[in-house]
Amino acid sequence: MFNATLYKREMKGSLKMLIIFAAIISMYVAIIISMFDPEMMETLDSFYEVMPELMASVGMSAGATSLIGFMISYLYGFILLIFPMLFCILRGNSLIAKYADNNSMVTLLSAPIKRRTIATTQLLVLISGVLLLIVYTSGLEIVIAEINFSGALVISELLKLNAALLCLHLFIGGVCFLASCVFSDTKYSIALGAGIPALMYVLQMLANAGEKAEVIKYFTFFTLFDANGVVAGESAATMGVLALLLGAILLYTIAVTVFCKKDLHI
């Protein structure tokens, strides 16, 4: 079910990207958390009054008075959605489709290793990467928040929030991994693996932008990730997260099955 040699090689392949994304996230998390300041909040709220659509479209809303509310507004609307998503897109594509596209899948298949084992190992590499990013982010957020505003961050709320974020990215990873397994051509694998999440994100931006466009929210899976709801412990939000997790598992199962059954002209 799992090949340690392959896992090691692929984790090494993820390392550079993980470091780059962790560095970007670190920078934003550090800057944004240190910006938390009730006075500043007023300024931002006044921005919101001037151009509510623009602010809302990037996930920023008025009235975030607690630290976690502030973080949800300014981190969980863009930075922490986009960068782990980029990781899923880039890694998802290179874990299966790239090997099939450039023929080096031959090396992996001309060995006494089942296809299922190869696909599962590659999937675990993707999941490990996402998990590392989110765990790192959580640790960083706690540390930065404690340094700047000791006691202001309720850690259990943050952990709940990040567990939900993890489920969202596991789902996005599932979309990318499925695209990678279905297409043996990186052109199509990238087109779908990147296209679907990007389109969904744009729809989410539109849905946030105005009341009239709100109906769009039913067409994007980002709606299932309701950060404020999760922190507040709303059951609808929990259901959404659960749906993402189940969806992720379903996508993984389909992806592995597709890879096991497909013809590889390599």
């Binding site: 090949n3 040699t5 392959l6 090689r9 392949g13 450039n102 023929n103 080096s104 031959v106 090396t107 992996l108 298949l109 001309s110 060995a111 006494p112 290793i113 089942k114 296809r115 059954k261 013809d263 590889l264 002209h265 390599i266």
Partner: protein, 272 residues
């Protein structure tokens, strides 16, 4: 029972492309030459044997195991040189060989060293920067590193210089002596003629003929009796043309090269 058994394998890609009703049996210890021009269906047949593609009609077995369902079990004792070599470009040759040997779970790496020496390969550089011949050598080492019983070699000497081609042919002869079963696809007539027991010629996806090298040759051999002026001249003639001298009569046989025989099947009657 045959070690490699392909039965009525058909894969239609449309527009006359693909393979049609191909049946091949390769016995234990036999070297089977799979000869055909580019695009004739050699690689498609081999992809079925490797379990990369699922047979639409017909079936293929190795050691009685279904090539699609049990490819992982078959691969344990199978060595493969792909027709189109493509490894992990980001690795050095050395790292790649180490990776494959760990990935395959091979404990003994003496064989890798032996193969590297035989083909005078220094695998230190990045694979991306390697020449075609060096990549091919890496492919050969990878295929033989676990000392497999069955070898499926898809145009194994492409990119190798004549010296290395000869070394490869010697290697095949040694493996054959050890009782290995080998399927060698090629469009190099000399290589096939020198190494194979039997040859299957494939053209436009159809197996045109399967016969021993000797039979194929005999079928296309013509003998002539030549009368010369003196026994002296006859002797010289016999020596130069590899004939049998009998007084001033010399019998010479015009052996067609496998290439000519091949052209007969490949190019149609007009090429004979």
């Amino acid at each position: 029972m045959s070690v490699i058994n392909v039965e009525n394998l058909t894969r239609d890609y449309g527009a006359g492309k693909g393979i049609f009703d191909v049946s091949i049996q390769v016995e234990q210890g036999e070297v089977f030459g799979f000869l055909g021009p580019n695009g004739a269906g050699k690689t498609t047949t081999i992809r079925h044997l490797m379990g990369f593609i699922k047979p639409k009609t017909g079936n293929c077995h190795i050691h009685g195991l279904d090539c699609w369902k049990n490819s992982d079990k078959i691969q344990k004792s199978l060595g493969y040189i792909p027709g189109e070599i493509s490894f992990f470009d980001d690795m050095t040759g050395k790292d790649f060989l180490k990776f494959v040997s760990q990935y395959r779970n091979i404990e003994n790496d003496n064989r890798i060293q032996e193969m590297l020496e035989r083909f005078e390969l220094d695998p230190k550089g990045k694979i991306k920067k390697m020449s075609k011949g060096m990549k091919q050598k890496i492919g050969i080492v990878t295929a033989f590193m676990h000392d497999p019983d069955i070898l499926i070699l898809d145009e194994p000497t492409s990119g190798l210089d004549p010296l290395m081609q000869n070394r490869f042919i010697d290697l095949i002869a040694e493996e054959k002596k050890k009782g290995k079963t080998i399927l060698l696809s090629s469009h190099m007539f000399e290589e096939v003629e020198r190494t194979c027991d039997r040859i299957g010629i494939i053209r436009n996806g159809k197996l045109v003929t399967t016969d021993s090298v000797e039979t194929l040759r005999k079928r296309h051999m013509h003998t002539y009796n030549v009368h010369l002026d003196s026994p002296e001249a006859a002797k010289n003639f016999a020596r130069d043309f590899d004939g049998i001298c009998n007084g001033s009569e010399v019998t010479v046989a015009a052996k067609q090269s496998l290439e000519t025989i091949f052209m007969h099947y490949y190019g149609g009657e007009k090429n004979v």
